[in-house]
Structure formats: structure tokens, C-alpha cells
Symmetry: C2
Subunit: 141 residues, 2 copies
Amino acid sequence: MKMKKATQILNELGFRKTEIRIKVLEYIQKIGKAVSQPELEKKFNTLADRVTLYRILAAFEEKGLIHKIMDVHGVARYAMCNEKHCTEHEHHDEHVHFNCTECGDVVCLDSIKVPDIKLPKSFSLSRLNLNIEGTCDNCQK
Amino acid sequence: MKMKKATQILNELGFRKTEIRIKVLEYIQKIGKAVSQPELEKKFNTLADRVTLYRILAAFEEKGLIHKIMDVHGVARYAMCNEKHCTEHEHHDEHVHFNCTECGDVVCLDSIKVPDIKLPKSFSLSRLNLNIEGTCDNCQK
DNA sequence: AATAAAAAGCAACATTGTTGCAATTTAATA
DNA sequence: TATTAAATTGCAACAATGTTGCTTTTTATT
Ligand SMILES: [Mn+2]
Ligand SMILES: [Mn+2]
Ligand SMILES: [Zn+2]
Ligand SMILES: [Zn+2]
């Protein structure tokens, strides 16, 4: 999985290349997990205000660059989108989100498709999030 | 679906039959939706303190009477458990939770089983919550 | 260098949720 | 019925996450 350079992505999406935006994007790209604002705040507290981080995440999400997941604790987390699937106007991140009860990590299990769910005809589906709790590979003893 | 009387349930679980506990339980039984503390607070603000409601919900959940769902907004909601499935020591509420984007209601689609998800062997699963967003039967135009 | 737009900072606030402790109420017992 | 222990509640204080309005700073363009 080749990563496009963060600065190039920011360019393409019409964002300005500020230090914090570059760092946040590179971090989310490399970490390979779904990160929360509080986590970013710990990492980058000298570089940016809390609110700035919230706004960066919101801006990235709006462009289809990252997607937002509510984790099992009700905290918003964000992870890279698959650029084949997501655009400014529509997200398609219908994969499993695994929440490890040991280390607290949340990861996208992109390879695990969520099976089609048949709803009663009177219901219509627009989005879906499958959170699974358990022990991740790192924490398996 | 016959409902056991609230007072009887409280008795059986070793709870005291206070007015607010009876009312809260009856409400959750009848409403047929997953309710949040803020909702209960609006309903019962003259009858009980905010904290009391949080504690009632936590107590009921611990006994396997109701189950806790994090909704798509990250707010905790609670709905009756199926007494065949849940006990003090173990919850089994692996059904779909439908979040209506129109009316905000969250309902348990108990009849819709969540298909088995095959995780990589290095992961172990302990719990699971499938939140679906869309338009519910009432809000369908 | 001047400019407009974007981004960031800061303060204030909202909402949801938790904890400690004192006061009250329930239910069991004498 | 009076006593009592335990359960329940109320209140105050706090924590965490998230939002909004407004000003200042920075970026990229002209
Ligand atoms: Mn994901
Ligand atoms: Mn449910
Ligand atoms: Zn783990
Ligand atoms: Zn609805």
C-alpha cells in the first residue's frame, strides 16, 4: 500500500500545508489505527490547540480523506479512507471496526466485509457501523 | 410478548420498589425503544435527580435486565433484554440496532441476526454491536 | 508588498457521564 | 410498632468530549 505524500494530498484537496495539518495527516497515515482527538492532543499539544485538531479532523472527513467511527466508548475516532471508496460527497467505509479491550486500539478490518443485512422493507439503510470488541492480535497471549 | 410486572421484576432482582425505579422500568418496557438518560431526565425530572437515573440504568444493566447500546452519536441508550438471553453475568444482545436519522429513535431489530463474522485467528471476539443508520418505518414517506 | 481566504487560537459554553459523601427511605427484624 | 442495616437518593463537584463565536495569524495569490 503506497501512501500518497501528505503534502500532495493537502494540495489536491485545496487545504493549506500548515505544519499541524501535515503532521496530523502523516500520523493517521502511518499509525494504521483509528485515532481520537484526545490522542492527537497528547501527541501534538505543543503544536496546536484542541479546537484546531477537532477542526482538522472534521475538515479531512468532509473531503472523504478520513472516516469517523464512534468507538465502543462513544468517542469519535478517525482513520484513513480507501480512496477508491470515499469522496467528498460520499463515504463508503462499511467494514468491521475492531475495538481491543486490552490496549484500547481501534482498527479497521478492511478485509472483513460486513454481510448484507436484510431490513424490513419499511426501513431504509444509509450507513452502518459494526463495532466488535475483543482482544487484538498484539494483545493475544 | 407478555410483560412481567415491573414490581415483580424488581423484587426478583433484589431491588427495592421505589417509585422512580418502577416508573423507569415500566417506561423502558412499554416504549419499545432504546432510551438514553437525557430522555429519562426529561420525562422524570421532577421525580429523580440526574445521577439517580444514571445509577438506575447501571444497576438494571448489571442484572441483565436491560442492555446498553452506544448509539451513532456516542450516547448510551438502554433497552430491555430478552430474558432468555441475558443474565447478571452475561449479556447476549447481538442484534441490529437501528438509528433513525429522521426521528432519532433507536430500536432493537431483534429478529435480524447479525451474521457470523470471521475474524483473523489472531483476534478474539467478546462483544459486538451493529449500528445501522437510515429511515425507520414511521419516518418513511 | 498588498490582499483575500484559510487556518489557528482563545474563551466560553454545552452535554454526557462519574465520584464522594451525607441524608433519606425501604424492608426486614425484634 | 420500633429498631436497624442496607439500599437508594440528592447534591455538589468534577472530568471528558465536543461545539461556537470571534479575533488574530498565516498562507497563497495577485
Ligand atoms: Mn474504518
Ligand atoms: Mn438491543
Ligand atoms: Zn490490543
Ligand atoms: Zn424515524
